[in-house]
Amino acid sequence: MCHPFIKSSFSVFISIIYLKKTAVFNKKKNRFLETLIEWIFRFSGSITTLVILLISIFLFTEGWGLFHSSTIEKGYVLCVNQENKVANLSPKQVKEIYDGNITNWKEVGGSDAPIEILRMDDIASLYTEEEIGSNFENLPAKLSEAMVQRKNAIGFFPQQFIGKDFKGRILPPETISPSEYFGGKEWFPTATPAAQFGVLPLILGTLWVSIGAILLALPFGMAVSIYLAEIAGNRVRKILKPLIELLAGIPSVVYGFFGLVVIVPFIRNLFNLPVGETALAGSIVLAIMALPTIITVAEDAMRTTPVAMKESSLALGATHWQTIYRVVIPYASSGIMAAIVLGIGRAVGETMAVLMVTGNAAVIPHSFTDPVRTIPATIAAELGETAIGSAQYQALFMLGAILFLLTLVLSIWAEIIRKDPKVQ
């Protein structure tokens, strides 16, 4: 992938060396050119670093706002009767109440009485249009009245219509805590009145799919790259390698559709499942997508093994396989590690293909035959429609930051393994 760049920068270096050698006549001019080129390199290097740094800072600052915002939709309040003993409700409790799963106040620490749910629609049916007024001028008074009359009600109203003399008690807005965000098991970003932002299922979904993909892609990828580098004849390699590289050029949405139409029904029939959109389907599609990267990079690394090393191994009486196993692979280990990291990177960050085949159900997966929802798929599917600056928008940016950290940890880990003297 990076060949052209390496080649061009290499040729620049060569020309610099060449310039140095011939700089007998106009030393001064050449030295100026040299420093200029050096500065250009330095400049582009620092610009790249700066841009990457700024992007990640942007990601984190946008996401961090989440922990200061309320789960209740902006511009709305939750309120109860003055005599109600419940001091506050967690977002989870609010959701359960409005879904009709919690129906009695004693379940959330109040007195033994059934909960009556009020939304704006209910107010419209409780009072006539004349009572409310054509411009809603009497609405604040009516809301107040409704909350006073109903001892067991919980109301969800626009803040705009809460007057100064509102007789109900407004529940304090609950901000999203990091533990709820990172440990929460429910992802309902658009639920009203209280959105649920639990990313645990999404993180686990991403890990399951990526680990599955890498477990499938590694053995195949290694086998093919060893075959191409050491066993295949020149003619076979010349045909096979471009073909494999061609696979990398297929758009991911095409892989996704192929997965949905071919792999998903296949998995459903094979395991006799009710649904074929599973983590396994995602893993298989991602494995196919990661293969070209792994094969090309690993094969390139193996082919850099000096012929002298291989020949001396063979001269010492080692078989072809022993040479591959003891000489070629250890020599190319850092390149192979790079191949694996690039492959994992592709799998962790892949969006469209996964969006099509994993079913996107935000539940914690227990096996590879469960539907999962991954982080990139969530961001891709939701960011376009969400209101900018809302809690959901921030939650999605935080997801981006988590993904960033995940890949960062992966590459640091790969770097440590690469530097391990045992591997080298």
């Binding site: 939709e73 902006k74 511009g75 709305y76 959701k95 409005y98 879904d99 009709g100 939304r119 626009p158 705009q160 098991k185 429910e186 992802w187 309902f188 970003p189 658009t190 639920a191 009203t192 949905l260 139409v261 998903v264 029904p265 459903r268 009710p274 649904v275 074929g276 959109e277 969006l355 099509m356 079913g359 996107n360 159900a361 935000a362 539940v363 539907p371 929802r373 798929a377 891709a380 599917a381 939701e382 376009g384 429609e385 969400t386 209101a387 900018i388 809302s390 959901q392």
Partner: protein, 270 residues
């Protein structure tokens, strides 16, 4: 010479697009509004650039003032309305067409009739097997659109009476993907715009009166007001720019514009 021509044509393009009205937003409205804009421009009435992205993107652009018209498959949210007001602007809403949603199941499924309450039970996870609603002993696999789609919100408000979907719901990125999945999964159920229904899936007759009458989702039934699951499609604009955008909106609402609505597969207003 060539360079000058290229430069001039680029200028024309840049200038032209600066003059054109910008329309942005919902992907559901996109095919319709695009078609309307095509005819509108062909008749030389004005210039428009129509782009998708989603209802949220459209509203955000309207708030910023970077679009003249926002397309939406959901009504403007309170938060978005307040943001407009804070900037000293007011959004005006126009309903341009309606879209009926069909409930679809796998063709092999014997169930044809479902009530709204049963649909609510299925999508909130209280009903999990087809035998509970008179079908075969088969697990129900419910497909939904993505959480941010206008269709998702509409279905939640209208059919599920504001209850939340079950957490194990399978959400698909596009209508086509729902059709594909429902057609190949035996226990599947999902909802799609009526215009998208193909022969690979079976449409459910829906009852909103607790099982007294079941209505088949057809264009005629939807237009007659018999079929209950129908949603409006909107255009929003800033009140102050009314003069600028009115000709196009009037065109969409005209008899000619509404004919295009029918052609694209949505329901005309009259």
């Amino acid at each position: 010479m060539k360079r000058i021509v290229l430069f001039m044509s680029l200028m024309v393009v840049a200038f032209g697009s600066a003059m054109a009205q910008k329309v942005k937003g919902s992907d559901t409205c996109l095919p319709l509004v695009q078609k309307e804009a095509e005819v509108y421009m062909k008749e030389g009435k004005g210039k428009l650039t129509v782009t998708g992205g989603g209802s949220g993107i459209g509203f955000a652009a309207l708030i910023e003032g970077s679009t003249d018209i926002a397309m939406a498959s959901r009504a403007i949210k309170f938060d978005e309305k307040m943001k407009m007001q804070n900037g000293g602007r007011t959004a005006k809403q126009v309903v341009i067409a309606r879209d009926a949603l069909s409930i679809v199941v796998n063709p092999s499924n014997k169930v044809t009739n479902l009530t709204r309450e049963q649909l609510e039970g299925i999508f909130t996870g209280k009903i999990t097997n087809w035998k509970q609603v008179g079908g075969a002993d088969l697990a129900i696999v419910a497909y939904s659109r993505e959480t941010t789609s206008g269709t998702y919100e509409f279905f939640k408000e209208h059919v599920m009476k504001n209850k939340n979907y079950k957490s194990g719901i399978l959400s698909m990125p596009a209508t086509g993907a729902i059709i594909q999945s429902v057609s190949q999964t035996k226990g599947a159920i999902g909802y799609v715009g009526m215009a998208y229904v193909t022969k690979d899936v079976k449409e459910i007759h829906v009852s909103y009166d607790a099982g007294k009458t079941y209505v088949e989702p057809t264009v005629a039934n939807a237009k007659a007001g018999k079929y209950p699951i129908v949603r409006p499609l909107y255009l929003y604009y800033e009140v102050k720019s009314e003069k600028k955008v009115k000709p196009f909106i009037d065109f969409v609402l005209s008899a000619q514009g509404q004919k295009i609505v029918d052609q694209v597969g949505y329901l005309a207003l009259k």
